[in-house]
Amino acid sequence: MSIYKFKIKNLDCVNCANELERKLKKIDIINNVSVNFITQKLIFECSEENKKQVLEKIIKIIKKEEPDVKLEEA
């Protein structure tokens, strides 16, 4: 298991962040995920071989839920 960190930008409000976090938690191969509005951080935990797959799923969900949001390498 490794922890990955990304900067998450353009979230509208805390509520949207919580909502997004709830949706991301449903990804089955992800272990721990948190969307922090204040620190603008997306942090998730998954195994190294799953990282690419998880990231793709995350980006897909973000695109659907919050199209304005951008992920950046932290």
């Binding site: 805390v14 509520n15 919580n18 204040i38 603008q40 659907k64």
Partner: protein, 618 residues
Amino acid sequence: MILKKNSQLIKIIISLLIFILSLTLKFDVKLYNNILYVIAYIIAGYDIILKAIRNIFKGKIFDENFLMAIATIGAFCISKFPEAVAVMLFYQVGELFQDYAVDKSRKSVASLMDIRPDYANVYRKEEIERVDPSNVSIGEIILVKPGEKIPLDGVIVEGESTLNIQALTGESVPRKVAINDEVLSGCINNHGILKIKVSKKFGESTVSKILDLVENASNRKSKSENFISKFAKYYTPIVVIVAILLAIIPPIIINDASFSDWLYRALSFLVVSCPCALVISIPLSFFGGIGAASKMGVLIKGSNYLEALAKTEIVVCDKTGTLTEGVFKVQKIDAIGYPDGDVLRYAAYAEAFSNHPISFSLKQAYNKEINKKLITKTHEISGKGVLAKVDGKMVLVGNEKLMKEHNIKFKKSNEMGTVVYVAINNEFAGTILIADKIKDDSYRAIKLFKDNNVEKIVMLTGDCDNISSSVASKLNLDEYHAELLPQDKVYWVEKLMKQKSSSGKLIFIGDGINDAPVLALSDIGVAMGGLGSDAAIEAADIVIMTDEPSKIANSIQISKKTMRIVRQNILFAIIVKIGVLILSAFGIVSMWAAVFADVGVSVLAIINALRILKIKNK
């Protein structure tokens, strides 16, 4: 981000000008006014409308963009043109202001934690290269100039200086460093050029560890945050449903009720139904509280711990290293027939070649160069002391047994601690008391705990009973238990956990070593002196970077202030929202009040939350 804000601001100003124009100019044909209103509305709110349309397709009907769009379009439908524009305008102004405020607080917390080094000067191929600290590997030599931050943990190989460690520990006294000293990343080099051999990668350096900890702290949510996000989850749907009922039922059952009148009231409901004002200020407050604590050198690992600190009822402390300095020092000299300084001098000389901890304390207290030529004979008597010839005089330094062995008449001392007896030329010359000293800061800490309504302060220690009782009575502790083995400490903490009230919390403060079971058992485990100690940072919920227990008392104050602000914000937001809902249901207030209840409240709550950063730490 800034660009986005500027364009947003320009949009608002243009829209506002057109709005005012339309309000002041009275055209003969009302249609012209209305066209101006619609133009102002579109300029101010087209992005909201677009987002709202997008959200309908996603089924997100409780989204604030959607609610705001329905409310304003509804207002147009019942010919409330100025209201529609005003609601959209003020909503946008509020959002913009909210963005500014959140941004500002992000920055002020970030500046509290401004310890991240931007670059490292590393020697490569005989030249100095400026690189990202994460690209430096272990064993490389880096150069730190005056005024620069030390980018990575390491050992000094050349140069000496003083380091400003305030950003890490809150301590304002600079630390002296020289060759072979270990230095931590995040410290600022005051003067002198330092060459440092890197001993840890950036990711494992102190500075990264601290930043990680503080940034992740707000991920562990407090009860207040969970409460409010649950509340928000139900609040919006309920208000929207009530709004729909309000638009439909009264016009049907009340005879002379006009539909447009009730629809207007229902639309006000939609404006108030957005949950963001409620939700935003709470995590912001905790983030601010954690930032304020870290500024004074206290790292709190989660919002939940900051919240729990306010309810501290019992404080349990370890003794050695926590309440006392943990270093054995000469506390008192009782000389007979000689000046105090001479007795200490003879003792230090006699012990000059010994490796015993006591000889170290004596030499440290003497604190002068020892001229070894003056010592002509030394003989260490194991378990008793030392016999030496210093300056031509026979000196005996040791315990009672040594005195008895040499038939010296001595006065027995009853002091707490280790008593060293000194005899010169076979005559008793006095005693030197070596003991651990209570930290000056401990007195302050105990007083502050009491001031902050801590009901009970208990000391647990493995040390012997008479020393412990003396420390406990000097510090005015409520309870102490001495001569404990690690498992006994567990027993006592378990017992004390049962004594607190159901919502009260128990804190354990220790040095983080050998304390793991008790740290885990207590509600909040605090490790002291975390600077440079990975084990302590790992095991505890809260880490104090310095060795001052009063910092925990200060953290309780921060926690109380944070919780006060959190409660104020929750109450304020809920009361205003519900008040405005009731008033607009009866048609007493207009949509203007509804806009205030939405964005006005959230802006005020954010400003209130920012007060946490203003806590002065002493």
